[in-house]
């Protein structure tokens, strides 16, 4: 089937099998491998991306269901070489270790902050409760989102931020 959708602001078209999962379309057809796959049962949330402005688990969406819709992935968080505050917050607060759950976590965090700019800890924990992280014990993810809430307009430039940003 022919599908056309907007992904991170760019229109893409492809001929796909009806059964193709959106996560596989994004990864294998578009090469946007920042969105990950981690379970068979829609539990882990490493595949979270935005469909029409809402976080969804893209392992539970068919690519054809996204036909005519708008997709945003982790690769779309950085705009014009400027990191999203959520990305910066994850770095500042050590909100990632292996980095595998991180894109999905950040997409949910961005959505949360867009709708609730100053969430408390309980709200953040609930927002990410459908996504699993095995490294951080969630503590620093919560702190990262809080950091981003405190720095809504302070995205930094790209390049190697490890050399630019210090605690």
């Amino acid at each position: 089937m022919q599908v056309t959708m907007t992904v991170n602001g760019n229109e893409v078209s492809a001929d796909v099998e009806p059964r193709l999962l959106l996560v596989h379309f994004v990864r294998d057809h578009l090469g946007l491998t920042g969105t990950h796959w981690g379970c068979d049962t829609s539990q882990c949330g490493t595949c979270v991306l935005w469909l029409d402005g809402r976080p969804v688990k893209s392992c539970t969406v068919l690519a054809v269901m996204a036909d005519g819709h708008e997709v945003r992935t982790v690769e779309g968080l950085e705009v014009d070489g400027r990191l999203d505050p959520v990305q910066q917050g994850f770095m500042e607060e050590h909100g990632l270790q292996c980095g595998f759950c991180t894109p999905g976590m950040m997409m949910t965090a961005r959505w949360l902050l867009d709708h609730q700019p100053d969430p408390d800890e309980a709200t953040i924990r609930e927002a990410i409760s459908g996504q699993l992280c095995r490294c951080t014990g969630y503590e620093n993810i919560v702190r990262a989102v809080r950091w981003a809430a405190r720095h809504p307009a302070e995205p930094t430039t790209a390049q190697d931020t490890s050399q630019e940003v210090q605690a």
Binding site: E17, R19, R27, L32, T33, G34, T35, H36, W37, G38, C39, D40, T41, Q43, C44, T73, V74, E75, L77, E78, L83, Q87, F90, M91, E92, H94, L96, Q97, C98, G99, F100, C101, T102, P103, M106, E121, I124, R125, E126, I128, S129, Q131, L132, R134, C135, T136, G137, Y138, E139, N140, I141, V142, D160, T161, S162, Q163, E164, V165, Q166, A167
Partner: protein, 800 residues
């Protein structure tokens, strides 16, 4: 001594990073934050085919026939591999890490549900899965051995009849300590407490499952393997031994790893099959397991059925501990641990206490379950040991009617007893245990918590406070004692300074999220004064790094970190000689300050390490016997393990109506010596604490009476989310290791090892009004509720 004194950088780099130790944001984050990590499944090798594995639906059955004709006729299928294919290549069986063999594909019979039966190689991954449906396998069911406690019954079905002459399911007996002395101590003791307990089978379940891409070049005979693995060099040697491919023609690349926790130490049948697939098709073959395959077939952890006994005087002096263990190793003995230690380091079960005697006996058995045994951040089974002793100490406190904190403080090893040789032969390098426990109690407000608990009990509310104190031995290990498949557990390290003073560090260990690219740069920076951002850390590629055994068992910092420090020290020593040559003075006239050699008494006369590097690569006439360039190569053979320790306190509330446990607070005081990067160390602790809560309350791989795995998905195998985890409260003490060049100890697994008994002790403490003495993990609402009714559950069996 505080950590601040140890870790505070004396200067800051041009990029604002600490020179040496201190909080530094991670170098690796830049790619991960942008979705630019390169995990295994992100890699595309030109011409690559995709593989999928057909697995056994039953736990124990004879294979009558396999018909692959329809699958082979699928237009997108390139190859179908069965046990018969492998037999023709003499690859049907592979050696395990424990001197057993494991079927790569089943030939005679299947021995656990999820065992590999056939592999399809196809043009795309959906087609490979489709073709699995076209393979017809006829099974002749056999009775399975599900309950480990019945594995040695005379009428138990023999699982490993592939081994000639085998008539039972017994794998090994192993003992440690002094049985006769322990028996004497127990016979004379005022008080002896006994408890049976299970450390259930769990799975590390990293978010990224296991996978590989194998590419055999038919022209050169060169095999390139990209795989999710924690030990690329060990894998290379094993591939050479298994497949007979000359080792110089094998390159193993371990890309970014989405969490390991022990799951990615071993070589799985899927890896070998991808190599075979590539040999047969002449194309690169990718295989990535799905979550069910991950949970059902790759390394499980724990599964120790333990009977513990603790002996003490009436006034609360602990005299001895005895343990009898039945170890369920699954269908193949595939545990990954040093060869001489079939029960890993379980015999550190004397814990953090000064005992008169100790003895343990471990019996390993086969069952119709997935192989494995040592995985999941256990420091080679120290998890089981710490759980056993810390539960026993709580049971003793209950028996004596004393506070568990008081009992521990009375019996903990004292600082002046170090180095301490335990009754099972471990030499604990350093420690100040009472200080750590007192600090944890202070952070927790322990007395106030006990007051609150008394008040709540009067109101019928169930609140529990649990303590655990752990000691680990990590950083395996001294070559003369420790090897895996004959490979000594030393690690190589190469440090090269470029002419401009920037550096490249090549490691044999492999990060899975621990932040090696940052931490190891900081170690070199600490020794040479080079800004950490100017040090490139290279790992995960056997063709570009020195040999070493990889990252697991919290061994990177104790072993490879020591190698990096020694390499940097060698470079510093050489820089001194070159500086002396340049300044026409004696090396003895020079003093070092961070990053620079200078003439004693005349600090203006000196050379920075960058200046020395340019001289070393330049035309300066060097003293006789001194080579040009500024490099060092080290193989570090640790003289001993390092012994991190910690004191944990958990506070829980239990709903008396439902048995639901809520972890309200968790206080963790860890001592891993000086902290290279305190931010990263704390992150390691946080993750381990979540693991501990998960194991104590949620996670179990159980089996039904037919041997069906009932933990084969995240719907059944429950991992802690942000909702089950409290906001962790951490603290530290700093007791350097006397034998590590920088005093460092491992930290990666401390919290996973130390936290489960704290949670369980807290829950049992909460249930005190119900007279509950013990219940096995996981303490699910159902299990807690049953314990409150006086009937705690058998958590390893899905059918009671």
């Amino acid at each position: 001594m505080t950590s601040t004194q140890h870790t505070a950088p004396s200067t800051t780099s041009p990029a604002g990073n600490p020179i040496g130790f201190g909080r530094m944001l991670r170098k690796e984050d830049a790619r991960f934050l942008r979705g630019q990590g390169h995990y295994l499944d992100d890699l595309v090798v030109p011409g690559m085919l995709h593989a999928a594995i057909l697995r056994s639906p039953v736990a124990h059955a004879r294979i009558v026939s396999i018909d692959t004709s329809q699958a082979e006729a699928h237009p997108k299928v390139r190859a179908v591999i069965t046990g018969a294919t492998l037999e023709s290549l003499n690859l049907a069986w592979m050696p395990t890490l424990s001197a057993d063999v494991q079927a790569v594909l089943a030939t005679d019979k299947v021995r656990f549900q999820g065992q590999e039966v056939a592999m399809v190689v196809a043009e795309d991954k959906y087609s490979a899965r489709d073709a699995l449906e076209l393979i017809d396998v006829e099974y002749d069911d056999l009775p399975p051995v599900v309950d480990a406690r019945k594995a040695l019954d005379p009428d138990a079905p023999v699982i490993r009849d592939d081994v000639e002459g085998r008539t039972d399911n017994h794998i090994f007996d192993w003992e440690a300590g002094d049985k006769a002395r322990a028996d004497e101590v127990f016979a004379a003791a005022d008080v002896v407490v006994t408890q049976e307990m299970l450390y259930p089978r769990v799975h590390p379940a990293p978010m990224e499952t296991c996978g590989t891409i194998a590419s055999m070049d038919r022209v050169t005979g060169r095999l390139t393997v990209w795989s999710t693995n924690q030990a690329p060099h060990a894998h290379r040697t094993i591939y050479a031994l298994v497949a007979g491919i000359p080792e110089h023609n094998i390159q193993i690349i371990s890309p970014d790893i989405g969490g390991g926790f022990g799951n990615k130490v071993g070589i799985y049948p899927g890896y070998v099959l991808a190599v075979v697939g590539s040999i047969l098709t002449g194309k690169p073959v990718k295989w990535v397991e799905d979550r069910g395959e991950n949970l059902m077939s790759t390394s499980f952890a724990r599964d120790y059925h333990m009977k513990g006994e603790i002996a003490a005087t009436r006034d609360g002096r602990i005299l001895g501990v005895r343990v009898d263990v039945l170890a369920d190793h699954g269908a193949f003995n595939g545990t990954a641990q040093p060869t001489k230690f079939p029960a890993g380091f379980f015999h550190i079960f004397t814990g953090s206490y000064d005992l008169e005697a100790a003895y343990c006996k471990v019996t390993g058995v086969y069952t119709n379950k997935a192989p494995g045994g040592v995985a999941y951040a256990c420091s080679f089974r120290i998890t089981e040991a710490v759980y056993l002793v810390e539960r026993m100490v709580d049971l003793l406190a209950d028996e004596l009617g004393v506070d568990p904190a008081e009992l521990r403080l009375k019996n903990l090893l004292r600082p002046e007893q170090f180095p301490y040789v335990s009754k099972t032969g471990w030499e604990y390098d350093s420690g100040d245990y009472p200080r750590a426990l007192k600090k944890a109690m202070e952070i927790a407000g322990y007395d106030e918590l006990r007051r609150e608990q008394r008040e709540k009990r009067e109101r019928g509310e169930l609140m529990g406070i649990g303590i655990s104190f752990f000691t680990e031995g990590v950083g395996a290990g001294p070559r003369k004692h420790m090897d895996i498949l004959g490979l000594g557990m030393a690690d190589g390290c190469e440090l090269r300074l470029h002419p401009t003073g920037k550096a490249q560090l090549r490691l044999s260990v492999q990060t899975q999220g621990q932040g090696h690219e940052t931490t190891f740069a900081q170690i070199v920076s600490h020794e040479l004064g080079i800004p950490p951002e100017d040090i490139d850390v290279i790992h995960g590629d056997t063709s570009n790094t020195p040999f070493g055994l990889g990252t697991y068992g919290s061994r990177s910092t104790p072993v490879s970190g020591a190698a990096a420090a020694v390499a940097a020290q060698l470079v510093r020593d050489k820089a001194r000689v070159i500086t002396a040559a340049a300044l026409e003075c004696s090396p003895d006239d020079l003093e070092w300050e961070q990053g620079r050699w200078y003439v004693k008494g005349d600090p203006s006369q000196g050379k920075t390490i960058a200046e020395v590097s340019m001289l070393a690569h330049g035309t300066l006439e060097l003293p006789e016997g001194v080579e040009g360039h500024l490099d060092a190569s080290v193989v570090y053979d640790p003289p001993n393990l390092t012994y991190p320790f910690g004191a944990y306190i958990c506070v829980v509330d239990v709903d008396p109506g439902t048995g639901q446990v809520t972890v309200r607070r968790f206080i963790a005081v860890d001592d891993c010596g000086p902290r290279v990067n305190p931010m990263i160390v704390e992150g390691q602790v946080h993750g381990g604490l979540a693991d501990g809560v998960g194991m104590a309350l949620m996670q179990v791989i159980a089996f039904d009476e037919d041997g069906n795995c009932v933990g084969g998905s995240f719907m059944d195998y429950l991992l802690p989310t942000s909702m089950e985890c409290p906001s962790w409260e951490t603290g530290e003490t700093v007791t350097p290791s006397p034998h590590h060049p920088l005093g460092l100890k491992g930290i990666g697994e401390s919290a996973t090892v130390g936290s489960p008994p704290a949670v369980v002790n807290a829950v049992i403490d909460a249930l005190e009004p119900y007279g509950v003495r013990h219940a096995d993990m996981p303490l699910t609402p159902a299990n807690v509720w049953m314990a409150m009714q006086g009937r705690p559950m058998r958590t390893d069996l899905a059918v009671q």
